[in-house]
């Protein structure tokens, strides 16, 4: 190896380069210094490049950098060889180095061209800076946006939390309200179902929307059947029109409620009496649709009322007959008078007809008297029969003075027998009253008989019965019957109106209480007060006929 190297450097066939330079020391020095400097520099650059490549691992085109480093290193070597060849003619090594340098430089050049497009595509620093600036800006924007988003998120979360809390509170509240409502609904429902009275809800189409058990039992229809029916359909034919009108008014809102007694026709055709009460109709837009109605079966009550009315009528008749019974002596007297005249006239007439000298004129007069007395007896009986007969009370204009006069004609004998003087002060301008004539007479009769009775024990003064009629308060006819009897002492005059209150041993104590109920039924008043200075005063009023 050393021999080879020495061979290379000791090729005597060539002359050193210095020869060409005539060994000129300045020239030689310049050559040596320049080539050495270049070589030094050329060796330094690749080391810097290697360092660079080593440090910058991300560097693009590392191959190119390596090739360039090798090429520069080779170039440096050629210059070093130039220094060597100044003194030693080692041109073979020199050219070998040159050749190697040529090859590597070619490769380097080729590679440079090869990567040129790629290298050009690499962004410039300005571009990078711009891109960087934009990026920074974008990053800033993004950070701001993110911050805003974060803020918004936080706000949203806060709101969500707040709303969630609210909703939870609401849910709790609603649940509680629902529970209360359910409890209330249950309570009402159980009341509705357990109620002994019928309860129904009528909708705006006049159909039943709901009906409780009591109502179903009452009317005989099931709730399902009732939902296809309405209040009008189940109402008795005669009461339908009134029901329709009231229902229309309720639905139109012109009527707040109604309470009425009417008839229903049950499913089985039976008629029942009911009391229907409706509450306030719901206002338009209310969640409660329909008219709540309470229905009470009052059939039994109605039946009892009818029976009571019949009993009352019967009692009135009985009391009339009883009063007539007390009057029987008077009535007999009233009839016996004309009968006595008739019989006497008849006897006289027979004698007239049998006389030798026939007095036809006298006979005719006698027969006329008989006829008149017959009529008179008949009239008395007619009045008695009218007082006793079984008739439903009937209202018609009644002349109160006339009624009083008739009663007095029936009681005349009773008055006389009891040594009572009757005095009348009847107002001739008395308006008629709308009343049942017989009942008015019964009241007067009761008061007259009562007055006679009250004076029965009176010995120390005149027994006077004063009967007055007149116009009382506006549109009232007033009648007073005053006696000079025992009066009320210190007791309350009102007691005597109590049923079965009596001072008579044989009395029933019903006359005055019946009289009062009669007067009340006519819209009037009957009361008693102490007479002045003695006795009792009975007064009653009856409303005068409208327009009279």
């Amino acid at each position: 190896m050393i021999s080879l190297l020495s061979g290379l450097f000791t090729q005597n066939s060539f002359i050193p380069h210095g020869v060409c330079l005539a060994w000129d020391p300045s020239l030689m020095l310049l050559f040596v210094v320049s080539d050495s400097a270049i070589a030094f520099a050329y060796y330094t650059i690749p080391i810097a490049l290697i360092c660079f490549i080593y440090k910058r691992r991300d560097l693009a085109f590392r191959g190119i950098f390596a090739l360039t480093g090798a090429f520069i290193l080779a170039c440096g070597t050629t210059h070093l060889m130039g220094v060597v060849t100044l003194w030693y003619p080692a041109y073979w090594p020199d050219v070998m180095v040159k050749f190697f340098t040529a090859v590597i430089s070619i490769f380097t050049a080729a590679a440079m061209w090869w990567v040129m497009p790629e290298a050009l595509a690499l962004p410039s620093t300005a571009q990078l800076e711009e891109a960087n600036r934009r990026l920074q800006h974008e990053i800033g924007e993004r950070e701001r946006a993110e911050a805003a988003l974060r803020d918004a998120n936080e706000e949203l979360e806060r709101r969500v939390a707040a709303r969630t809390a609210e909703l939870e509170a609401e849910v709790v509240q609603r649940r509680r309200a629902e529970e209360i409502l359910r409890a209330s609904e249950q309570r009402w429902r159980s009341m509705f179902e357990a109620s002994a009275v019928g309860i129904a809800l009528t909708d705006e189409n006049r159909r039943f929307a709901a009906a409780n058990k009591a109502f179903q039992r009452m009317i005989g229809y099931t709730e399902k059947e009732l939902c296809r029916l309405g209040p009008i359909e189940i109402t008795h034919e005669d009461d339908r029109e009134a029901t329709r009108e009231m229902l229309d008014d309720m639905l139109a809102g012109t009527r707040a409620d109604y309470h009425v007694e009417k008839r229903y026709r049950r499913k089985d055709g039976m008629v029942i009496w009911v009391r229907v009460s409706t509450a306030q109709a719901p206002k338009p837009g209310s969640s409660l649709r329909g008219i709540p109605t309470v229905i009470e079966d009052i059939t039994e009550r109605k039946r009892a009322e009818d029976a009571l009315q019949e009993a009352r009528d019967a009692l009135l008749r009985v009391s009339r007959v009883t009063t007539l019974g007390e009057l029987s002596a008077s009535i007999a007297h009233e009839i016996n008078q004309p009968l006595g005249a008739i019989v006497a006239n008849g006897s006289a007439c027979l004698r007239l007809l049998a006389a030798e000298k026939l007095d036809l004129e006298e006979a005719r007069e006698t027969v006329e008297d008989i006829i008149n007395d017959g009529r008179r007896a008949s009239a008395v009986l007619g009045r008695v029969r009218q007082l006793a007969k079984k008739t439903a009370p009937e209202r018609a204009p009644v002349d109160v003075n006339g009624a009083i006069a008739e009663v007095l004609s029936l009681t005349r004998q009773e008055l006389h027998r009891s040594q009572v003087t009757a005095r009348t002060e009847l107002d001739p301008n008395l308006p008629p009253v709308l009343a049942d004539r017989i009942q008015v007479q019964q009241v007067v009769l009761n008061l007259v008989m009562n007055g006679i009775e009250a004076m029965r024990g009176v010995k120390d003064r005149a027994r006077v019965l004063r009967i007055k009629s007149g116009v009382g308060a506006p549109a009232d006819v007033a009648v007073t019957v005053e006696d000079t009897g025992i009066g009320f002492a210190n007791s309350d005059p009102e007691h005597i109106f109590e049923t079965f209150f009596t001072t008579k041993d044989d009395g029933m104590g019903m006359g005055l209480s019946i009289s009062r109920s009669i007067v009340r039924a006519h819209g009037g008043r009957l009361w008693a007060s102490a007479g002045a200075p003695i006795g009792a005063v009975f007064s009653f009023t009856l409303p005068a006929c409208a327009g009279a």
Partner: protein, 134 residues
């Protein structure tokens, strides 16, 4: 029949007065009528009364009261009571105090006539008034 035998009728009922007068007249007795006891007392015809047909129930002085009054005043007038209101107590009282008869309306013609005839028979020897006996 005696012209002096006059029958007086006191009754507040017009029909009875007319009928009774007609019937008694048909037997030929003179008849006078009065509407009340007070009327009769005031008439001044008490001395002329041979027989009194007297109603029991009348307003004012009634038949029994008139009877008591006449007795108290010394009159012995035969009285025939007629009444439309039959009452045994009144009848007993009337007869006890000397009434000839007590007839309930409607009375029988025969009853009235026989009572009048009794009065007529009594008239024969009995003075009719306090004044006549003195």
């Amino acid at each position: 029949m005696s012209d002096k035998f006059i029958v007086m009728i006191v009754d507040d009922d017009n029909s009875i007065r007319r009928a009774a007068r007609r019937l008694i007249k048909s037997y030929g007795f003179p008849v006078e009528t009065f509407v009340s006891a007070e009327d009769f007392l005031a008439s001044g015809r008490l001395h002329a009364t041979a027989c009194l047909v007297l109603d029991v129930q009348m307003p004012g002085l009634n038949g029994l009261e008139l009877q008591s009054r006449l007795i108290a005043d010394g009159y012995r007038i035969p009285i025939i009571f007629i009444t439309a209101f039959h009452d045994e107590n009144t009848q007993a009282q009337a007869l006890k105090t000397g009434a000839l008869a007590y007839l309930a309306k409607p009375f029988e013609e025969a009853d009235l006539l026989s009572a009048i005839n009794i009065a007529l028979q009594r008239q024969e020897g009995v003075p009719r008034s306090p004044g006549a006996s003195h």
